[in-house]
Symmetry: C2
Subunit: 338 residues, 2 copies
DNA sequence: AACGTTACTGGTAACGTTTCCATGCTAATA
DNA sequence: TATTAGCATGGAAACGTTACCAGTAACGTT
């Protein structure tokens, strides 16, 4: 009992194949009566159109690519799930590709698109500073940057973005730390080579220090790579270099939690000895011990908006959009006044 | 500058289309010289074969479906990433579908398969107790159950599985708790309706109690749904019902961490007042405070094996396999002798 | 010298759709 | 009544590949 194809259905329904095709694709020019009848036959025989054939003919698929930078970050895991759900609801399916090599983001994306005949591409995280308009246009499909920083000089009409103001958010976080009396504030950020959110969060940290007349010290600065492990190691190095720290700002919750382990291992207490500030507000933050003071990113909203934009561009030819979400400082137990 | 197709390449290279096709598909019957030349042309013109067309012709795709039950569990997030990586390496791409409705697992899988012309399906977690041979065979593609319990009466030749011995693992965990003196041990498990790993872990808990001559108490039993939140709530209820508990076994780390929050909120200490045992050994566990004693599942190995089996069935027509991985009790700081 | 064998290679019919074009029909207009 | 317009429909040519079949050349075998 091989699979039925559109021709079989047409024969059974006593109509032409084009009519069946029109019914499937919800074209308006089919008589209601025929339409119903065809639909019945389709239902009864459990016919499912062959996606490959459709995609071939249309020279496009109903697939949307999601390129993810960070591998083990629950922040992205959460986003992906929400995006996938919304996309699926709109009839698209997500093809996810983890661990895109940063050095050739666009090349990778390009090949990915060509090979899969993707309808659009969503990039989560990553570093797109050097991304040129030419490269974006070469993709020829809607391109959305989400939860990352956008290339400044790029033409905003050719891509969408859903982001937060990383610098401001980090500024607020560190400003708060200063306000409650901290003057020796360490930071666990990301490396120079990664001109992404980390750079801007670091910038915010610097500006806050500056506002409060605090001089920046190099030994208060360490880098990690968005994992527990690297956060832990960075903190270890920090603790090695100085004993002055009364607070530490980690630019991601994951790294903050890694850092906490190092702090505990040194026999220090959070927040009594060192206040700890995270960034992201992943689920875990509220359940960590002590509960983690952090910068809340509206993950769900960001995810929904990202999917929304993609769908509106694809289905309604809407133009590209750029939305910036607000963050909020969530005060929990890991930071206390000095 | 439209995209080139195989015919264009053939013309440019001065060979027949079938030769180009053979080169692309790595058939051995092409002269090394021609082969190289064709490859050069392909490279030079940046030709990428159209996936839809290939899939259409082959009446199959190179897509493998991954159906995931638990939505926000980092355990699965980790697995998915590893599986995707390995699959990609073997030339397959993963299409992920989260949040499959449990009541109609197979129907969903079936439609998913038909629509996407999937080559195989991997199910992560979920409840397949009622899954019949007939339903599996209806799928007609390799089917792998990973990190779940397998239907007992099913014909093992028609599907693969990569699992752990949940009952034994839980038994060992609770046996250990008893060994170090605990006799009032609570459990946070999953509901009756979910005849999945939870059921077996509960069974292990019961057997361990039994071995030590401890009577099971209903008020020591609560259920959650693999989230921080439900773990937290379950623990709250437990604490409401009894004050006898000296230890709690949560059947997932996520729930254990949720439970910890409830314990802390009641002003109790871990492990001084209550010992806490988790299950899974997700990354968080080692970074939690106190570090979480838990049952280690070899995620990476499970993921690799799962992908391996799929690839070996697809590429080499190997038969179905059933592998059971060992777990290990990881003693950390959250459990102490009474 | 005739033959079979081996190693390559090219032509072409599918695969299951969608879409353009053509056609027949009905209703509206002149 | 003749003409047009619009609606519903069917036929068939693509879309870009793969795989079967056939064909050629080179070579060794009888």
């Amino acid at each position: 009992m091989k699979n039925l194809n559109i021709r079989d259905i047409a024969k059974i329904a006593g109509v032409g194949v084009s009519t069946v095709s029109r019914v499937i694709n919800q074209h308006s020019d089919v008589k209601e009566e025929t339409r119903k009848h065809v639909l019945e036959v389709i239902e009864q025989y459990n016919y499912i159109p062959n996606n490959s054939a459709r995609n071939l003919k249309r020279t496009e698929s109903n697939h949307i690519g999601i390129l993810v930078k960070g591998m083990y970050n629950p922040f992205f895991a959460r986003m992906i799930q929400s995006i996938e759900k919304k996309l699926a609801h709109a009839g698209y399916s997500a093809i996810i590709h983890y661990n895109i090599d940063n050095n050739k983001d666009v090349d990778a994306a390009y090949e990915f698109i060509m090979e899969k005949k993707l309808m659009g591409v969503i990039c989560l995280g990553g570093d797109f500073d050097r991304l040129s308009d030419l490269e974006i246009e070469r993709l020829r499909v809607p391109f959305i940057l989400s939860s990352t920083e956008i290339p400044e000089k790029a033409d905003k009409n050719i891509f969408s973005s859903v982001i937060i103001d990383n610098e401001k958010a980090a500024f607020n976080a560190v400003d708060y730390l200063c306000d409650i009396g901290h003057r020796s504030i360490g930071i666990i950020s990301t490396g120079e080579d990664d001109k992404s959110v980390g750079t801007y969060r670091t910038e915010g940290y610097l500006k806050a220090l500056n506002k409060h007349g605090i001089e920046k010290k190099d030994e208060f600065f360490e880098v990690g790579a968005y994992t527990f492990e690297t956060g832990y190691e960075a903190m270890l190095r920090l603790l090695e270099k100085t004993t002055e720290l009364t607070a530490v700002f980690a630019i991601s919750d994951i790294m903050a939690i890694g850092a906490a382990k190092a702090i505990f291992e040194k026999g220090l207490k959070i927040p009594e000895d060192i206040s700890l500030m995270g960034f992201d507000d992943i689920d875990y933050a509220a359940y960590f011990n002590p509960t983690l003071t952090t910068v809340h990113q509206p993950v769900e909203e960001i995810a929904m908006m990202t999917a929304d934009i993609m769908i509106s561009i694809l289905d309604e030819q809407k133009p590209h959009r750029h939305v910036v979400f607000d963050t909020a400082l969530i005060q929990r137990a890991s930071c206390i006044p000095l």
